[in-house]
Symmetry: C2
Subunit: 338 residues, 2 copies
């Protein structure tokens, strides 16, 4: 019999917080007392959970010593409360990379759950960016079979990676343009509506952005391959929810498309939307948005290289990448560490 | 002194036809009599050219034996008239790949003008897809310097690649979604508004689409490298004008980012929107749309491979890729063959 666990969600009122509530409910997480914490205007709002409506409480007044588990959906302004919870002895599980610089090795539940041992006595459990979560889940079984040598990835990020402000900027710019009104750029440095941005954020070493270096670092850590060649281009596209990744890999051994298909079909949480003779064509809107699965399609041989393989993946960055990984990690903590 | 040349445009009233008129004017093409030809409702419309407004005439009644040069902006339904013009002894220059199956080697004015000799006595001059035009112009100087071995490209096609119907589908779906109305798919098999389609068209051999195999074939022909490794993913994105291409290349010799930058800076018609210490960030809306240039940025080393280089390019598929290449080819014909 599972004991119910008291837990808190920091940043409960934003998109990631709402996704956490839905996934806790869907996956039948053993929830005891649930504390929804946020700040500012959100305090006092009521959010649905299991046929009840729970009030959002002020994070500044919460006593973290009363609980052991915190899911963190906040943005940077909530970081002090994550630290406070960790100091009070809680496991603080990140829901989407905000705590990357606070914890140790980032964790993806299906890929490297053993890294949770580092946080065994409580503390921050770091998680990687949504792009890295989906990519690592898909690449793990392929690596185990054929040995990964190189990963090239063009990631097309949805605007929800930039929070509610990113979502609002795409919606409002689109409405204005359809009415022939001028648009303003706040979150993004260029118009995002009907446009593609070839990078997010400033350039760092060697012309790669922080998001790109982070993807390199996280993928190497998750797969425990410190020398893996990872060559990323991280862009932003006018899509609300669902990151797409056009992926090319090279393996040490042969890996035929049929074999890759079989390996991925066996993974719980991966949906093969494969093209082989079918109509499969996984897209953010028709497949990924609001889903807890990772959709993979377009598995095909590289034109030109032996042991090269292409594939396309799409996953809801908030529900699958951020919140989905957070709840799966919390399940392991409950089972093995709490 | 240049002699003015009488010419006709087939499909003058569509987006490519209108772009041809603008570019003929901008580049001060030596136009004699200009015949604007189209069919259906467009006949009788008047289009602006050099401070005049020229009437669109019916293509079915035109006598092609009166002229030597035809620019072809039509879609498939206009193919019989292209053939008729070629039989009458005209040079029929394609403006965007519709005639690919009718002519010989596709031509990009800056890359392989010598292939025009094949059509020396008149006939169809084939041109490649807009993605291949921009890519070939950018890769040529890099190949000449360091020897191309492999090209990986993720092409993000704007909806105007699918004609007026593609443009209308994106506009009308977007307007409906903002008003919470259901959308219909006609041109594209999935919703295109706020979405990314991982392929256009059906799958052919080995899981690649016709557009992808075409890019492989055309790039090899244009660069005269029949064994070049070309590994493409061709997608469709909710952008009106301007194809983006995330490009990765491997070269035989070393090719430092600084050297690539210098080589590209020297090419007429390429604009370096480069990131090196600057704000460069070439996008379809802010740079490519309505421009006759190819914008290149994000030139940086591959993370993982020696002699690997990444770059990002964006160009207006209609104005630069289709119409721009067509007019540049016509200029060479006037100079050397007419």
């Amino acid at each position: 019999m599972t004991t119910n666990i008291d837990l808190a969600i920091i940043g409960a009122a934003n998109a990631t917080g709402e996704a956490l509530l839905e996934i806790l409910e869907q996956r039948d997480f053993p929830v005891g007392k649930l504390h929804l914490l946020d700040a500012g205007e959100s305090v006092g709002a009521r959010l649905p959970f299991r046929e009840r409506r729970l009030a959002v409480k002020s994070v500044t007044e919460f006593d973290f010593s009363a609980i052991r588990l915190v899911l963190f959906a906040g943005e940077d302004d909530m970081l002090p409360f994550a630290r406070q919870a960790a100091t009070a002895g809680c496991f603080v599980v990140d829901a989407g990379g905000t705590l990357a610089s606070e914890g140790g090795t980032p964790v993806v539940a299906e890929v490297n759950p053993e890294a949770l041992a580092e946080a065994a006595g409580g503390g921050v459990v770091a998680t990687p960016s949504a792009s890295a979560v989906a990519l690592a889940v898909v690449l793990k079984p392929l690596h185990d079979n054929a040995g990964l040598r190189q990963v090239d990835v063009v990631s097309l990020q949805a605007v929800s990676a930039f929070g509610k402000a990113g979502i609002e900027e795409l919606a409002s710019q689109t409405a204005k343009l359809l009415n022939a009104l001028p648009v303003e750029n706040k979150v993004f440095s260029r118009q995002i509506a009907f446009n593609i941005l070839p990078r997010s954020g400033a350039l760092e070493e060697e012309g790669h952005t922080g998001d790109e270096w982070r993807l390199v670092r996280e993928l190497r850590q998750l797969l425990a391959l410190p020398d893996l060649g990872v060559n990323p281009t991280v862009t932003v596209v006018p899509v609300f929810f669902g990151h797409c990744e056009a992926v090319h890999i090279e393996t040490d051994g042969e890996l035929a498309p049929e074999v890759a298909r079989e390996l991925l079909a066996r993974v719980d949480g991966i949906e093969l939307a494969d093209d082989d003779g079918g109509e499969g064509m996984p897209t953010p809107v028709t497949d990924a948005a609001n889903s807890d699965a990772i959709f993979v399609g377009r598995i095909r041989r590289d034109v030109g290289r032996a042991n090269g393989l292409n594939l396309w993946l799409v996953a809801d960055n908030v529900r699958r990448g951020a919140a989905g990984n957070c709840v799966r990690i919390a399940e392991i903590l409950v089972r093995d560490y709490l």
